[in-house]
Symmetry: C2
């Protein structure tokens, strides 16, 4: 082993501003529509759910938005996150590519989700919200919101997609340690939950979906003015807050005296992708440095690679505003793959727009390819990556192999969004040969795409 493998920054290098890519896009991406009138949502219509400042950020065209000191104070516990050079993995692959990974697993809850949980709770607390509800897929977001709520003394209620809840009992312990109340979704606590349960055979526990859990969390928040709703991904502000990842990486590449040719991250809602890529895309859009960006989704939930760029709801019941995005349809319930954070029917409007504009290339990877990539990464680099993060790694390995075959000495930057410490049952199943890939058929896909809302242009 030789040469530097870790690029650390000082607390002083924690970004002072988030970056808003909207300021640099050639045109403004489509804004959300009211789900009933199909007219653009007014700020007044949206305040029932989200904090005013978050809505302002969603609508902002400012290039940079200042990070409040109280948020940076909490960021200081775990930021800047390290950038590593994966020399062992490079050697194992025999690639001339330089592989770098930015690792978000050292956050208090083990993933990048805390980056947006902290400001969301801060702004809500600042306007008197005493409780936040949310959904969670893999459990990463629920844990992050629980941590952030504990930091600002706000109550937290989490609706956790049943399929993942059953796989990871101990994330519940952690959320509860931070003071949160955790439900398996669908619950009997909400109208939408009871409705979903009524369609199941008696005695069985429905697997749930992120879309359904969103509906539950939104219903509870709408019922009480002191309760707000927090969203872990897809919304503009979640991507905005995650840009601390890309901003730090830019500084770290300057330290390394290098620059990435290719950026890679997984996409569930799209916040890790946006957070990593947007600061680098700024450099591209403003003519400074070119870069390729690759967004990796699971073949089990192929919104970008097989879905449509269309208006759709964020939740299963159609309670949220309509968004223009890549989607497989809001009624789609993905197979219970272990990357629970990627089991979402749509992709953030901002990431979708960037894909539609050709700024980001989508690819899909199968679950088994991803676990194999995760194990190779664990053995060589000593980090067990979260099932979500293995999607980025699988695509990164493909790129590294392409570089080997073409003799190209590119620099690859992959985001490892979190660790797998609560997902080892999934790895155990994979090691035991119990994980197989299910292909989504054209027929199945067509059924869900046919349920997209018909939105008249205005």
């Amino acid at each position: 082993m030789s040469g530097q493998i870790k690029y650390l920054l000082d607390e002083r290098d924690i970004p002072t501003h988030w970056y808003n890519i909207v300021a640099d896009l050639p045109e403004r991406p489509p804004r959300p529509l009211n789900p009933r009138t199909h007219q653009p949502m007014s700020a007044a219509e949206m305040t029932s759910l989200s904090a005013t400042e978050l809505l302002r950020q969603d609508g902002s065209t400012e290039r940079f938005i200042a990070i409040p000191d109280q948020v940076r104070d909490v960021y200081r516990r775990f930021r800047p996150s390290p950038l590593y050079r994966a020399r062992n993995l490079e050697r194992e692959l025999g690639t001339p590519a330089r592989i770098y990974y930015k690792y978000e697993g050292f956050s208090p809850t083990g993933s990048h989700k805390v980056n947006t949980a902290v400001p969301q709770v801060f702004y809500n607390a600042g306007q008197g919200i005493r409780k936040l509800t949310t959904e969670t897929g893999a459990g990463q977001w629920g844990t992050a919101l629980a941590f952030a709520c504990a930091q600002f003394d706000v109550d937290c209620e989490v609706f956790w997609v049943g399929a993942s809840y059953d796989q990871k009992p101990y994330r519940k312990t952690m959320m509860e340690a931070f003071g949160a109340t955790v439900h398996r979704s669908p619950t009997t606590r909400t109208d939408v939950g009871r409705k979903a349960r009524a369609t199941e055979p008696p005695g069985s526990e429905p697997l749930g979906s992120i879309g359904l859990a969103v509906s539950e969390a939104v219903e509870v928040a709408l019922a009480d003015p002191g309760t707000g709703y927090a969203l872990g991904s897809t919304a503009g502000h979640t991507l905005l807050h995650q840009t601390v990842i890309g901003e730090e990486a830019l500084k770290q590449f300057a330290l390394a005296e290098d620059y990435p040719d290719v950026l890679i991250s997984c996409v569930g809602g799209g916040s890790s992708m946006g957070g990593l890529a947007f600061p680098f895309l700024r450099e591209k859009l403003t003519g400074n440095r070119d870069v390729r960006a690759i967004a990796v989704e699971p073949t089990a939930c192929p919104a970008m690679t097989r879905g449509k760029y269309a208006w759709d709801y964020g939740d299963m019941e159609g309670l949220t505003p309509l968004m223009k995005m890549y989607t497989v349809g809001h009624r789609f319930v993905p197979a219970a793959i272990h990357a629970g954070g990627l089991r979402y029917h749509g992709v953030s409007p901002l990431v979708s727009y960037a894909v539609h504009q050709g700024l980001i290339e989508p690819v899909a990877k199968s679950q088994t390819d991803c676990f194999a990539a995760g194990l190779l990464f664990a053995r060589t680099e000593g980090i067990m990556p979260a099932p979500e993060a293995t999607h980025g790694l699988a695509a990164c390995i493909d790129e590294a192999i392409r570089c080997r075959e073409t003799g190209s000495d590119e620099a690859l930057l992959v985001l490892v969004t979190g660790h797998a410490h609560f997902d080892l049952a999934a790895y155990a199943s994979f090691q035991a040969g119990q994980i197989t890939d299910e292909e989504l058929s054209e027929e199945q896909l067509e059924v869900f795409l046919s349920q997209l809302p018909v939105v008249s242009p205005h």
Copy 2:
């Protein structure tokens, strides 16, 4: 929140040398004896088990021992570890004390154990050893050795104490991801394992103990010249390697322009305690700065607070050399407390000697007090501490409360040896009120102490 909370160091600040406290002690602590002859062990007698350089380090009186570049290269993945100021915890306790914690949970395997696993594998590989065996209690050490073996391409076979193996199935997944073979101890693979199993009722799986698992690992290593044995704690070299913790903390306190009045860590075998305290005790022994050091053991395994300072074996079967140490007797099988890493009958001869000399103060804490301390720490500081680490935290909270009651503004430094990501089942049991404390009776203790070997002075 205000004021700095994290003290980071650069890769350049990773220590270049380990510190050997033997050089600064007023006299040389008693050396190990041959278990049959009761004469001091010669180097030749010991080479069948450990790498030559490790034995040389155990016998060395040099003050500083250089860390090989190849070891520092692996350290660079996770060192220096951060020092945090626990401002939220201070506020919660209303204490004038300044509480600092050094956090080892960011290592690849989530605890400080990697600090000694890496050099042990490096030295063994350098002399042609192709496989290492070991025991593990909580699973931390086995995972650390598995990681280190993967870095130097050495096979790894782990004997895991049954009680902990059953509690933490997923650490096995992680060890296997790093390429190790993992057994539940006692096994049917060794003579001592079969003997232990024979005393149990048919069909039941014995809980095992660290002492018994040591016997198994040693038996396998002795049977093959290409196989070595690695020890996660108690041996002099394990404490030596852990001094990177204390050396870094000294530099970090200089950055913080502060100095600890009290050092606190848990004690299983004693390596985290030695690693944290010895560099500070050097400053004390050489007349630079005074410091108190507190060693915290579980009430379920009270070697320092209720045991004897006596000659005893390191394993249950009496295969290891005799060591002068605090012990509750090598045949003692502690209750199946969740801090599996602290279920060991003895304490490192070096730490024992320091306790005997009054350089380190021992205290014992009950399991329920420790879990309560762990949950308070999780809620305030956002880190779920390993059950072992909660012992240090419980004693640290006692000290902070003493400071509140006496109005003393001391600086406390507690070592958080690792995270609890594989121990959340234990926290779940505690939250559900299912964990109680069992007191070890005087009668039980006397039985085990009466089985100490009779060693004639020479």
